[in-house]
Symmetry: C2
Subunit: 300 residues, 2 copies
C-alpha cells in the first residue's frame, strides 16, 4: 500500500480493519466512509495500528467496546502506545447470521463455527438447535472462509451478512443473536499530522465527543478530584475505563469519553483543572459523536 | 463433596479454585487458608461460583485482577450474578518457571506450552531463546500436565512452582517473567449465610476493605455524584471497574473497592449518600485488606 500524505477529494481513502474479508470491522469501515473506501484487512490489532503509524493506511477502524461483552482492552492499551489521533467513531448494530454453503439446509447442519463471543451471543439459538455442535474459531468472518473452503453441507458459521457475501456463502437464518441490544462502537484513528479522511456522513450526530487518558496522583480522592473538574460544569461523561500501569502495582490509567469540544470555554476550563490535578493527561481526539442505530433495524 | 453449614475449628475447610492441580489459584488457596485446607479444583469459573452457592465448597478463591493484564472481567460479572459475599482477599506474586521432565535440559527444549497471558509475560525469555517455539495452551498448570503426559524431553511448560510439584516435573529455570511487578489479586467468596472459614493469617493487613457495585442514574455527572460521597470524606478508593448493563446500551455497573468498614461513621455516611444518589447499590463484602508481597521475594 502507498502512503498518501493527505486525502485529496479525488483520491481513494485507504482504511484498515482487523479480520478477514467481511468482518464486522469491514462493515464498520463501509458504514463510516461510504462505498468508495478501499478497505484493507490486517491480521491483528498490532498490525492495524502500525499500518496507520507507518502511513500504509489513511485511517483504521478499531473496535473499542461492545454493549454486551464490554471494552476491548487490548485496543485501549494500543491507543496509549501509539502516536495516533481519534478522528471519528461509528456504532454498528451486530447482527449474527447462520451462514452455510449455497443450497445447504438448516436441518442438515451438525457443526457451527464462530468466535467464542459470537457463539455466546447466539446461545438461545444454539440451545434451540441441539443437533448443532458449537465449535470455537478465531474469527467470525474467518469461520465463514473456513466453512466454504471445507465445502461441507453439514457445517455452518455464525457471522455478519458481509461475510456471507465476501465468501459467496448463503445466509440460512438472519438475526439469530439472543439480545438485539448488541452494538459495537469503533473509533477511527489517523496519524496526528494527517488530514482526517472525510466520512461518508451516515450515522453521525451533530454533537462533538472528546476522548482522553489520564493518571491521577495516587492519594485518597484522586479519581474524584479528576472527575470533579467535569461534574462541576455538568459535562456528560459517556465512558470511563481503567487499565493497570505496568510496573506500578494497583495504579491505573483512566480513559474518559465526554460530550464536548475543548475549543469551548467550559470544556477548556475542565481540562485545565484536570491537568492541574492529574499526574498526566493526553487528549486522544475530538470527533463527531456516532448515532446508535435502532436495534429493530435489522438489515435483510 | 459434602456441604458443612459452618466450619467448626476441627473441621477441614474445603476451598474451591479454577484450574488444574498446581494452578496459581491453588497457590493462592494455600497462601490464604494455610496448609490444612482441602483445595478442590473446578473446570471453569461458572462451576467455581456454583460450588459455593450449592454448598459443595465452604469458599472459593476467585482471581479478579492482575497488575499487568488487568481485570478478569468474567469474574466481575459472576460476582453480580450470584448471591455470594466477599470475605477476604489474597495477593499472589506471579512467578513463572520453565518446567520440563525430570532430567530434561534447557538447550534441548524446542517447544514451550502455556496460557497466552503467561507466554506474553515471558516474552523477553522467549526472545532470548529463539530455538523454543511458544505454543498457546488452555491453562498454565494444565500445560505442565499435558507436557508430562506427552513425555517428551524436548518440550516444556511455563507455570507456577506448585504445578511442577503437582505433576512431578522439574523447574529448569525459575522467575523467567519479564516484569517482576506481576501480582494477581484474588477474592475469597462464601455464601452470605455461611460463617467465613478462618484464614491462615498470612499476608493480611490490619485494614478493612469494602467492595460494592452500583448503577448511577443516567444523567451528566452521575458517576461524579456517586464518587463525591467518598471523596468528601477522604475515603481511599483502590479500584473502579465498569461493566456494561445488558439490554441498556452505553449504561454501566460500577464496581468500587475502598479502604474502610461500613460499621464506621464516615463510611456509613458515604454509603447513605451513595444509596440516595444511585439507581442501585449492592455491598459485596468487607474483609481484611491483603498485603502485596515484595516483588524481590521470589520463592526458590
Amino acid at each position: 500500500m502507498n502512503a498518501p500524505e493527505s486525502t485529496a477529494p479525488n483520491q481513494q481513502t485507504v482504511a484498515a480493519f482487523q479480520g478477514e474479508r467481511g468482518a464486522f470491522s469491514e462493515q464498520a469501515v463501509r458504514q463510516y466512509f461510504g462505498p468508495g473506501v478501499l478497505a484493507a484487512p490486517c491480521r491483528d490489532f498490532d498490525r492495524l495500528f502500525e499500518a496507520v503509524v507507518a502511513g500504509a493506511a489513511d485511517a483504521a477502524i478499531v473496535p473499542i467496546e461492545n454493549t454486551l461483552a464490554g471494552s476491548i482492552i487490548k485496543n485501549y492499551d494500543l491507543l496509549l502506545e501509539h502516536d495516533v489521533t481519534i478522528t471519528g467513531e461509528v456504532v454498528l448494530r451486530v447482527v449474527h447470521n447462520l451462514i452455510g454453503l449455497p443450497g445447504a439446509e438448516v436441518d442438515q447442519i451438525r457443526r457451527v463455527y464462530s468466535h467464542p463471543v459470537a457463539l455466546a451471543q447466539c446461545e438461545r439459538f444454539l440451545r434451540e438447535h441441539p443437533q448443532m455442535e458449537a465449535v470455537a474459531a478465531y474469527d467470525t468472518a474467518g469461520s465463514v472462509k473456513l466453512m466454504v473452503e471445507a465445502g461441507r453441507r453439514d457445517e455452518a458459521a455464525i457471522a455478519g451478512e458481509m461475510a456471507a457475501r465476501a465468501w459467496r456463502a448463503q445466509i440460512m437464518m438472519a438475526g439469530i443473536e439472543s439480545d438485539p441490544q448488541n452494538f459495537t462502537r469503533f473509533v477511527v484513528i489517523t496519524r496526528p499530522d494527517h488530514t482526517p479522511p472525510t466520512p461518508g456522513g451516515r450515522g453521525v450526530t451533530g454533537e462533538l465527543k472528546t476522548s482522553l487518558v489520564f493518571r491521577t496522583a495516587h492519594r485518597p480522592g484522586g479519581l474524584h478530584t479528576a472527575l470533579a473538574a467535569f461534574a462541576e460544569r455538568s459535562v456528560n461523561l459517556t465512558k470511563i475505563e481503567s487499565r493497570p500501569i505496568p510496573g506500578r502495582p494497583w495504579e491505573y490509567s483512566f480513559y474518559l469519553d465526554f460530550i464536548g469540544d475543548p475549543a469551548d470555554q467550559p470544556i477548556r476550563q475542565a481540562l485545565e483543572r484536570l491537568i492541574a490535578s492529574a499526574e498526566s493527561v493526553r487528549i486522544l481526539g475530538t470527533y463527531p459523536r456516532a448515532e446508535t442505530p435502532d436495534p429493530k433495524d435489522v438489515p435483510a
